[in-house]
Each structure stands twice: as structure tokens, then as C-alpha cells.
């Protein structure tokens, strides 16, 4: 296999006096430097700036960019993240000057186009959720969770109820307990049963009049649909609690079932997972939330409203609102891409997304589960969690070794060691946009790796400039900037 090389730093390639630009002489009178900036305010020497020719700079960045893995170049079965194809059409539309060059301080009368789209997106997301009202403001899924829980807290406060606990399954995303804590609740863990579903006995034991919200991910992070959801909703509602849905896995149920029909009272969407928004880099993102009617008055202000004359406006007149959670109106560019995706698919297309996501995951699971067993049995939804536990026990090959070796085969590693309730977890989500050939080729790669010499796997990846970084030192003493030696 060919080992990629890391290009030298620009500083290392620098040659004094080399330059990319020839600047014209000044067209204003020269003044002595001392007159402009007194010596005591000047550094002893100029800052170190690399000096290179333009071609060297271009090659440096182009070569660096080829070290990246992306869905546009590689299969990317990163469980929970739904790394599906993001249609280029959405990018093209988002870049048109009508949308791309807008400014939130423009007069409302000149923003009618985007406002009408956002208004429509609010009702589309409400319809998909089977709920009544939507806020598009949160800037990420996790902020959506926090916003929804703050909305719930306000709802209980206005009802004069003091409820302190949020119940969360042990298979949940780590953001769930973090959001519960940040919004002032105590996070209480609910066990999973042997099937990987909510342990109903543990749920009943911990459910009380102190329970504000139960945060459920369904299908859950094991890729399993929990059919107990309606029973859970009934028990919870009986105690006056609210059912929250972490919508991370909506691509498995789009158009098949509406969360509201299962008893869900509030939820968030991850447009970057479900509706092909851009991934990564920490944003910009979006995490719209949908809620039942009784929670609507407390949603963040403003919402997009339609006035009697048919024009669209931002409605700030919301006296019970929890207030603003994001400057302006959230990341409208991401919301716009989600809108384009949804409208391109249409209702039938959205349903097909769910069908293909589930079909692809089950096909791939069937191809590999004799080598990488899936501890929780039964049909999966859009993803499955396999375990490298036997390999670890018999041959000392851990999930991390498999993940690192996949890089040598030009595949992005799946999510590993999550959820925490599966030992040596490999969380694999092929997504709906992959072909049968890609799935079969990936299954073949996994089987090849399973048969390889453990020594080869322990030292993988062999093709990347950096193989196994010292992750402990990287976490404790990160070196984030270049400094002159």
C-alpha cells in the first residue's frame, strides 16, 4: 500500500525574500517609521511569516486537502452521524445571490422570499413530526435539546409544578444528560434490558410525579426501534410528564410514522443528518424543535408568522416565550438546504429514504454478522452496533484496531466504543444513499480485516502520514499553533 506523505509546514519551506506578489511602489508620501509607530510600541523583530512562491502555496494546500476523507470521496459508515450524500443541487441553490447574499438587517419587505420558505419549513417539520408548532432557531441538535427542555421547564413553571428529574436511557447520546443538567434538571439513568430496549421495570421504578421529561431516542443508538414507546408515553402522561424524542435517527422513520402519533410531546431534528445539511467543523448547524400545542407559547421568539395581508414577518409578540436562543434567525443557510432537500424528495421520497436506510443497514448486517456479531438480536433500523469482543478476547484485536485498519482500505471508520452498553462497539450506519455494490465491497473489506495478522492491525493505519497519535498527550498538552523554535 502507498504511504501518503505529510507535506512540510509552510514555515519549513520558507526561503527569505521569496514572494508571491510584486507590490507597486507607494502612491502617498513616505514617512519615517518612527513618526508612525514609536519604537517602544514595536516588536524587536518582524513576525515570522513564511515566504514562498504562489505555486508552492497552492500545492501545499491542495496536497493537504487530499489527506481528508469525506463522503464525496469515501464510504463513510459513521454510526449515528448519517453521513449520506448531500446533493450538490442544494449547495448551488443556497449560493444563488437571492439567498446567499441576504443580510438579516435588511428590511422585512425585502426578505419575503426566505421568510416564506422558513414559514413553510416550520409547517413541513410540524407535519413530519405530527406536532403543532416549530422553532427553527436553535443552531445545532444539542442546542435544540436544551431549548426544548427550557421550553418544558417554562411550561411546568407556568402550571405551578415543580418537577426536578429528566429520565434518560443508558444508551442515549451524551448530549441528553448534558442538556438536562444545563436546563436545571437532574438526569436520572434508565437501564436498557437484554434486548437493548428501555427496561420497562426500571422506567416504572424511577417514574414519579417528580419526572418532568423522559428523553427517548427511537430508533435508539443501537439502531433498534422500541415498540414500547406508546406504553411508555401513556405511563409518563399518567404522571403528568412529557415525552421527548431525540430526532437523531429520523431518517429511519421519515414518512413511516409520526412521533406525535407515538405520544411524543416535543423533539428536535438534526437537519445535517436527516435532511442533508452540511456536516462538521462545529457548524454552522441547525436543530429545529417541534412541540405539542400546549408548549407552543413558550417557544423561543421570534417565530415566522404570516400576517392577515399574506405577508411574512418575524413575530416577537410572544409574552410567554423563553426568549431568544440564537442571534438573528438561526443558521438560515442550513435550514434552506433542508427545505430544498425535503421539497426535492416530496412525501413519497422521504418515505423511500427511510425504507432504503433500513434496507441497506439490514443487508450489510446480514453480510457481516457472522464475523462481527451483533449482540442485540432482531432486525435493525438504519444502523446496527456490532461487537469486536470475541476478536478482542481471542486475538487481542480491538474495535479501535479494526477502525484504524479500515482507513488503509479507503473507508472512513465507523463510530467505535459507542453506545457504551456494547463492549468493543462498532456502530455502523451505511445510510440510504449507498449502492448495493458499495455495501458488498465494504462487507468484503471487513471480512478481510477480520482474518488479518493482529500485528498488522495493531500498527494500522499504514498508509497515512500519522498512524497512531498519542491521544492522551494530545488531550492533555495540545499543540495548536506553530511557534518559532
Amino acid at each position: 500500500m502507498y504511504k501518503l506523505q505529510q507535506p512540510p509546514l509552510l514555515f519549513e519551506s520558507s526561503r527569505p525574500g521569496r514572494s508571491t506578489a510584486v507590490l507597486p511602489g507607494p502612491d502617498v508620501p513616505d514617512a519615517p517609521l518612527d513618526d508612525l509607530i514609536p519604537p517602544e510600541h514595536r516588536a524587536a523583530e518582524p513576525p515570522p511569516i513564511p515566504e514562498l512562491g504562489e505555486l508552492d502555496v497552492v500545492r501545499h494546500y491542495v496536497n493537504l486537502s487530499t489527506l481528508n476523507m469525506s463522503i464525496d470521496s469515501n464510504f463513510y459508515p459513521l454510526g449515528s452521524c448519517t453521513m449520506k450524500y448531500n446533493p450538490k443541487r442544494n449547495e448551488r441553490l443556497a449560493a444563488t445571490s437571492g439567498f446567499g447574499a441576504q443580510h438579516p438587517y435588511q428590511d422585512e419587505s425585502t426578505l419575503q422570499g426566505i421568510l416564506s420558505i422558513l414559514y413553510e419549513l416550520q409547517s413541513i417539520l410540524a407535519e413530519i413530526a405530527g406536532l403543532d408548532a416549530v422553532s427553527l432557531q436553535p443552531a445545532a441538535g444539542a442546542q435544540g435539546e436544551l431549548t426544548a427542555l427550557l421550553t418544558a421547564a417554562r411550561y411546568f413553571r407556568e402550571r405551578g409544578e415543580k418537577r426536578r428529574q429528566v429520565l434518560i436511557p443508558d444508551s442515549a447520546h451524551g448530549t441528553n444528560p448534558a442538556s438536562a443538567h444545563l436546563s436545571g434538571f437532574e438526569a436520572v439513568t434508565i437501564k436498557s434490558d437484554a434486548r437493548g430496549l428501555v427496561d420497562l421495570a426500571d422506567f416504572k421504578a424511577k417514574l414519579s410525579s417528580d419526572t418532568a421529561v423522559f428523553m427517548m431516542t427511537n430508533p435508539n443508538t443501537l439502531g433498534l426501534f422500541d415498540p414500547q414507546i406508546s406504553e411508555i408515553a401513556e405511563l409518563l402522561h399518567g404522571q403528568g410528564g412529557l415525552l421527548y424524542l431525540d430526532g437523531a435517527n429520523m431518517n429511519a422513520i421519515l414518512g413511516i410514522v409520526r412521533p406525535g402519533d407515538m405520544g411524543v410531546d416535543l423533539m428536535h431534528y438534526n437537519p445535517h443528518k436527516t435532511f442533508s445539511g452540511p456536516h462538521g467543523g462545529g457548524g454552522p448547524g441547525a436543530g429545529p424543535i417541534a412541540v405539542r400545542k400546549m408548549l407552543a407559547p413558550f417557544l423561543p421568539a421570534p417565530l415566522v408568522a404570516r400576517r392577515d395581508d399574506g405577508r411574512f414577518a418575524l413575530d416577537y409578540d410572544r409574552p410567554h416565550s423563553i426568549g431568544r436562543v440564537r442571534s438573528f434567525f438561526g443558521n438560515t443557510g442550513v435550514l434552506f438546504r433542508a427545505y430544498c432537500y425535503i421539497r426535492t424528495q416530496g412525501p413519497d421520497g422521504l418515505k423511500r429514504i427511510a425504507q432504503h436506510a433500513v434496507l441497506n443497514a439490514n443487508y450489510l448486517k446480514a453480510l457481516v454478522e457472522d464475523v462481527f456479531p451483533v449482540p442485540h438480536e432482531g432486525r435493525c433500523m438504519h444502523e446496527f452496533v456490532a461487537s469486536a469482543r470475541n476478536m478482542a478476547k481471542d486475538r487481542g484485536v480491538r474495535a479501535m484496531d479494526v477502525a484504524k485498519r479500515l482507513i488503509d482500505y479507503n473507508v472512513h471508520a465507523p463510530t467505535v466504543y459507542f453506545p457504551l452498553i456494547v463492549p468493543e462497539a462498532l456502530m455502523i450506519e451505511p445510510t440510504e444513499s449507498e449502492s448495493r455494490e458499495t455495501l458488498e465491497s465494504f462487507a468484503g473489506t471487513l471480512r478481510t480485516i477480520a482474518a488479518e495478522d493482529p500485528e498488522v492491525l495493531h500498527a494500522a493505519p499504514h498508509t497515512t502520514p500519522i498512524t497512531r497519535p498519542d491521544e492522551v498527550r494530545a488531550a492533555k498538552q495540545p499543540v495548536l499553533t506553530w511557534r518559532k523554535a
Partner: protein, 129 residues
């Protein structure tokens, strides 16, 4: 400390009881599962801990995991050496890597804890989960 003489919680903490003082640590198995450790947060002397509730957390390159108290009590000593250098826990979980000493609450029971043989059986059966 001899691992065979200790008691274990299902969440992988070990207890050694000497009179009313209980020394608490984390099992070798759990440390191996966590892989490379980065930091650990331990309670202060004087803090009260409750059986089954979190008394601290350990962060590895994999995840942040809660440490659960195996028994009710009050913290009387904290292993500052481990707090300053968590690699001690990885190197010697049953010895120099002990975490805290508790003055056990009157009447606090070791109920629900496993002896060494039962703990070994549990981790062999379910992979510790």
C-alpha cells in the same frame, strides 16, 4: 491489595473494608475497558457519598465515565497522587491506584456487592455490561 479479598459493585468499583474505613478503587477489568486514561475527578475530604450515586468521574480517550460509590459514607482521605497522575490508576488499580477512603455510614450495608468469584463470573458473562 489482593483482588481476591475485595468486594465489587456491578459498576466495577472495588471495596476493601477495614473496621469502619472502606478503601475504594476501580477494577483492573474496568481500567482495561476504559483504555487510555486522561484525567480523573475525585471528591473532597468531607464529602458525603451515597451508594449507587456518582462520586467522581474518569475521562479516557473513549468516554467520560462516572464513578459510583459502592457504599454510603464520608470521604476521609483522597489519593492525591492518582488525582495528579491518573496513569497510577492504569498501572496499579488494586494498589497505588486506590481512589478514596470512606468512613462508612453507621449501618451501611455491603448489600448488592459481589465477591471476587461472582465478579469474575459477571465480567466473563456479559463483558461487564
Amino acid at each position: 491489595m489482593d483482588p481476591r479479598s475485595l468486594h465489587y459493585s456491578p459498576t466495577h468499583e472495588w471495596v476493601s473494608l477495614d473496621g469502619e474505613i472502606a478503601t475504594i478503587g476501580v477494577s483492573q477489568f474496568a481500567v482495561e475497558q476504559l483504555t487510555d486514561l486522561i484525567t480523573i475527578e475525585l471528591p473532597r475530604v468531607g464529602a458525603r457519598v451515597t451508594a449507587g450515586k456518582s462520586f467522581g468521574e474518569v475521562e479516557s480517550v473513549k468516554a467520560v465515565s462516572d464513578l459510583y460509590a459502592p457504599i454510603d459514607g464520608e470521604v476521609v482521605e483522597v489519593n492525591t497522587a492518582v488525582a495528579n497522575d491518573v496513569s497510577l490508576l492504569a498501572a496499579d488499580p488494586f494498589g497505588k491506584g486506590w481512589l478514596v477512603k470512606l468512613k462508612v455510614a453507621p449501618g451501611a450495608a455491603m448489600a448488592g456487592l459481589l465477591d471476587h468469584a461472582a465478579y469474575e463470573k459477571k465480567i466473563a458473562e456479559d463483558g461487564g455490561h
